[in-house]
């Protein structure tokens, strides 16, 4: 699978530059068309101080075109007015892959369910790479960690990520399962089946299962495993539980979105 239409979410934050750089890199890799969708974060207006929304839009537009010209890519700028998550989702449906920014701490306060990223993931029906707040991504998607729990969301994410998986140097499948006999055997089988399925798609993957530690959240265990392996991308299904459940009880998706240190490929 190759991605031919990419869409990057642009706003007024400083991290936009890193996201834009990564999206231009991906566009180059897949020879893809890149669309920049400008949707500012509503509640940040006060902190931006002097500039009017129109001025910020113009600044971002200029920066976007300049970066694209430097990279030598054909790009398209879209700034729908007014814009909310529903309109953004319609734009997102016309892209093979989305690039979104990690929700910031204040977003969790403003909208506890994950805000824009979660809305787009849930309603667009397209996969997204969520780019963390910090770090730079000179190596991206060379060493991929696939989190597998046999759910439909995991299957969706892996199937949507095939384009990246096929080009990666190293792919590892990670299953988190209980110590107990039957469940452990089941987890092992799930990992083997997933590896066999990926093999049919021309992806050679190793698999590994981590015993579930009651004291450690699954999401945290996955993140520590990713850092052990020096993974530069995590592929995960998003919101296998309902959003309300994630919001109240926490969950893998929320932990990943809150604490990610490497980009996460998500699909619902």
């Amino acid at each position: 699978m190759c991605y031919k239409s990419l869409l990057v979410h642009l706003d007024d934050s400083e991290r936009c530059a890193a996201r834009l750089a990564l999206s231009l890199d991906l566009a180059e890799r897949f020879d893809a068309h890149l669309t920049g969708l400008y949707v500012p974060r509503g509640h940040r207006e006060a902190s931006e101080g002097m500039q009017t929304p129109a001025a910020r839009l113009a600044r971002m537009h200029e920066q976007f075109l300049l970066e694209a010209e430097r990279a030598g890519r054909i790009v398209e700028w879209r700034a729908p007015q007014p814009c909310n998550a529903a309109i953004a989702a319609v734009h997102a449906r016309h892209a093979d892959l989305l690039l979104l920014g990690q929700p910031e701490a204040e977003d969790w306060v403003a909208q506890s369910a994950g805000g824009f990223v979660a809305d787009v993931l849930m309603t667009a029906g397209r996969p997204a790479v969520v780019v963390p707040h910090s770090g730079d991504f000179t190596r991206f998607a060379q060493n991929i960690l696939v989190t597998w729990d046999g759910s439909r969301e995991a299957a969706r994410a892996v199937s949507d990520a095939l384009g990246l998986l096929q080009r990666a140097e190293c792919v590892s499948i990670e299953v988190i399962a209980s110590h107990g006999g039957a469940q452990r055997a089941h987890a092992q089988n799930a990992a083997i089946d997933a590896a066999a399925w990926l093999d049919l798609h021309g992806v050679q993957a190793s698999f590994h299962e981590t015993p579930r530690d009651p004291a450690v959240q699954t999401g945290a265990a996955l993140l520590s495993r990713a850092s052990d392996l020096h993974a530069d991308l995590i592929v995960a299904g998003a919101y296998a539980h309902s959003r309300v459940h994630e919001c109240v009880l926490g969950g893998v998706t929320r932990t990943l979105l809150e604490a990610m240190t490497v980009p996460v490929f998500m699909s619902h």
Binding site: K4, H33, I74, D96, A155
Partner: protein, 316 residues
Amino acid sequence: MRQMEAGSTETGFSLALIQINGDREPESRLIARHRYSRNCGAPIMEYRSILVHLDGSERASACLDLALLVAQRHGAHVKALFAPVTTDHDSAWPLAFDAGYRVRSREEKRRALEHQFFNGLSQANLKGSWRTATDHARPELLALSPYSDLIVVGQSDPNDPDASLSNRLQAQVTLAAGRPVLWAPYVGTFPTVGERIVVAWDAGRSATRALYDALPFMRLATHTTIVTLNAEREGRIPGADIALVLARHGIEVELTQLHTPPTVSIADALLSRVDKLGGDLLVMGAYGHARWKELMLGGVTQTVLGAMPVPVLMSH
């Protein structure tokens, strides 16, 4: 008939808009074409693993044939799951008839299908595996579905006691598997599938999923038409954006609009359009709603599945 070239910001694309007004239903056709199409580098997603569900009904054999046909076209691995549907009258059998007869008749069906499966595999030079369910059909299907790129199921014949009542099992799998599901109609034969594709497009989430999931079919098709359903005209051609997205994948599509008067149901208009276009595969999103915590299909989806003349690819 009027033809015009619409401008595009991208180089290498041509968009031709053809307005046809002579017809009874006004329609416009847009053909988006990439000048360097078929030169796309790595192929788009492909079907490498196909799961086919075989129940104990009479149409299971036709369903298997369809799965093998698709597998041959895409060079896919085939997993056949023989899982008879547990029907309500199962419990009544031991009382009314010889229970052993039912077991024996299922065993005969299984043997015949297994023979047909391996025979078909060797004839088409394909690889595959056979599994006889030990559990109910639904959990068995959902356990295998994450490792499949396409699931083939058969539409229930309302007159067949061995088929799932009113497509309940197939609908649940369509909504819960998260994979594209190809439904084989219970009447007719299908010499070709996916040569002339009709995509029902409403820019919704499920339609988007279905469209992307059908990319492997579109890549091999001779003709793909996207039918936009009651799209509003706001100075732009409905479906033009998605046609461009597909054109970037090297897929040429034709766009037509479907506007239904209030007296005609969307489902009926869509099916008659499929017939008019000579389609042999309909691609559409499966819309469902939770009713009593049970997965049920929405109205249009339900109607299309009730009266489908050609195989239907659905995603949720």
